[in-house]
Symmetry: C2
Subunit: 347 residues, 2 copies
DNA sequence: CGCCTCTGGGAAAGCGCTATCTCGCTGCGC
DNA sequence: GCGCAGCGAGATAGCGCTTTCCCAGAGGCG
């Protein structure tokens, strides 16, 4: 009974040592059998080790491996808000690709607080992750930017690899979303549909993504002879979108035919605000968004938006960070205008 | 120059050893200063160590700590699909609570494949996480259930802690969602509104959550003299909901006044199917869902559903696993019917 | 047949930490 | 004045692994 090899009575997981003893081989041989080393090991021994490992339900201690090898199999992912579909889709992509590479993902949320982001980067560095992916949105001229950059450079100089998602003024590998071109194309298509007078709901000043989209939209209007009459800058969230639309409506729409929201969740919030004001989105005032998150197909009317393959963005971010990006991976992510019924042809 | 202490030239992160040398104290003292041990350390030494650590930009190697301490600060989270709002909200709760406890979350997705789930549990066990949270949906009588249970028991006997979200036939700590009572209450409220003839779109047979909700709904109908005329069982996803509704419509609704979908994403898919068939959800056929994910406020008409505080569920799952659950944490999560315009009063 | 190169197993030296143990020192009581 | 407890710094023995290094045995070759 005392020698019962099942883990049932033990209260510590089996170690490699246990496996080696059980198999009657040395520690080194056990190690070599369980994770291919450069060295060959006698097939019979190998089988004995494998059998022993199975019997003891052995699972290698990843921390110990990390210490011994001096390298981990971890990727750290930072997002602003996990529940936001934009980020959760990117996260899904990262996780999927990590899975393919047999890497483990650890995830943290900055809640859009750059102070917190910096803190998280510091903590996560302790994990010695192979790569860090920063998908939380960047703000221009944020006071924490320098400290963040310093931290990331230090991390890189220790062999870590960093990838950003979406633009940043920091000079790291980045999955570029073609925000500008996408918004510009959207504006052009909308003017083609006959729209002329626009308002925009964008994020608080300085959010790179939001700023680029707005700039692109404006650029697209200039060519097409549309005008951007008003811009409001609430929070970059669903409730922000609702609030922004309320502001626009409160002052009277003043002839605005279409409201461009800098992302889909804001657009969806805006549509609800329109409805709550007794108007019909699409009919009384058209709405367009950005991202093409899954739910916008299912709102009424379905939302015109600019599609970003978000899951692909997550996958690409990991490849880019790992350094095995293909040529296509290096190019900006293609964005594509998707016209739906929230912007019916006009006139 | 050679002695330059900045990390810039080094290509390995500073170790505790480096810090101790820099501060002119022993390794032990450095360790004790940087993470409070039971022992006191001379304030002057402590300051010297702290200064040295800051100077060298030292960040303790968590793997090494884990090995030395024999315990990690990791929590492993398993979900079915990260991009699904149901799971991403739970994940957000887990991450938030973990953050409070200074724990690090590693996340993996099962893609609703129990084989894969088992594999992931095995892999994640290598991390020696403090707790494992399984939120991926359980199937009754799944062939992998026994193996999963064995794996989790082994993990527990090694000091790990397991928590499930939503019901399971496995006997582990579980955050109970009151699916049954919620669905029952929903059915009652709907019959109160005047509905009598129902159809249900639920998940493929055996998904515990879906089954419970359906059973609860039926129970609620019996009291209220409503009848469940038809049940379809597509995939437990948005597209499944769409497809299920298409099936119902294809055969003719046959007097069904309200369709109950076993979760919100399915309900939203169903609403789109209704619209695509040229009908109006809420008016031609009422729809109700379950979960109250954020987007259902913004669809048209807003969806009647049963609210689950999903983020709270995630937080609670972690507390429960950690073992510092309060009395309230042990009780089933309260669910609440939210009537919206997708189920207008009838007649 | 002797020498030399391969092979591949095992011993052991780390990896970066923590925790125990050792031991000099101070201060107190009798 | 001496013994003894208490304090706290430093040395060191691990933690569970990987990866050198060493070495015995097996073959190859002139």
């Amino acid at each position: 009974m005392a020698g019962d090899a099942a883990t049932s009575t033990r209260n510590a997981p089996a170690t490699l040592h246990d496996v080696a003893r059980e198999a009657g081989v040395s520690l080194a041989t056990a190690s070599r059998s369980l994770n291919g080393s450069t060295r060959k090991v006698n097939e019979e021994y190998r089988q004995r080790v494998l059998a022993a490992a199975a019997k003891l339900n052995y699972s290698p201690n990843l921390s110990a491996q990390a210490v011994a090898r001096g390298t981990t199999t971890t990727v750290a992912l930072l997002v602003a808000d996990i529940a936001d579909p934009y980020f959760s889709q990117i996260a899904a992509g990262v996780v999927r690709e990590a899975d393919r590479e047999r890497l483990i993902v650890t995830m943290a949320a900055t809640d859009r607080d750059t102070e917190r982001e910096l803190e998280l980067v510091r903590t996560l560095r302790g994990q010695r992750p192979r790569v860090m992916i920063l998908a939380a949105s960047r703000r221009e001229g944020d006071p924490n930017n320098d400290a963040l950059e310093a931290e990331l450079r230090a991390y890189e100089s220790n062999g870590g690899r960093v990838a950003f998602v979406s633009t940043t003024d920091l000079d790291f590998r980045t999955v570029q979303l073609d925000n500008r071109a996408g918004a510009e194309a959207l504006a052009r298509e909308l003017t083609d549909l006959g729209y002329r007078r626009f308002a925009a709901i964008t994020g608080t000043e300085g959010i790179r993504t939001a700023d680029e989209r707005l700039a692109g939209f404006q650029a697209g209007l200039e060519e097409g002879r549309g005008t951007l009459e008003r811009v409001v800058r609430p929070e970059f969230t669903r409730d922000g979108g609702y609030e922004g639309m309320r502001q626009l409506l409160a002052d009277g729409l003043g002839g605005v035919e279409l409201v461009f929201a800098a992302n889909d969740v804001m657009a969806v919030g805006a549509m609800s605000a329109i409805r709550d004001a007794g108007l019909t989105p699409g009919t009384d005032v058209a709405v367009a968004g950005f991202d093409d998150v899954p739910t916008v197909r299912d709102v009424t009317p379905p939302l015109t938006t600019v599609r970003i393959p978000l899951e692909e963005v997550g996958r690409r971010a990991l490849r880019l960070a790992l350094g095995d990006a293909t040529v296509e991976d290096e190019a900006p992510v293609h964005t594509e205008v998707v016209l739906r019924e929230s912007t019916p042809r006009r006139g």
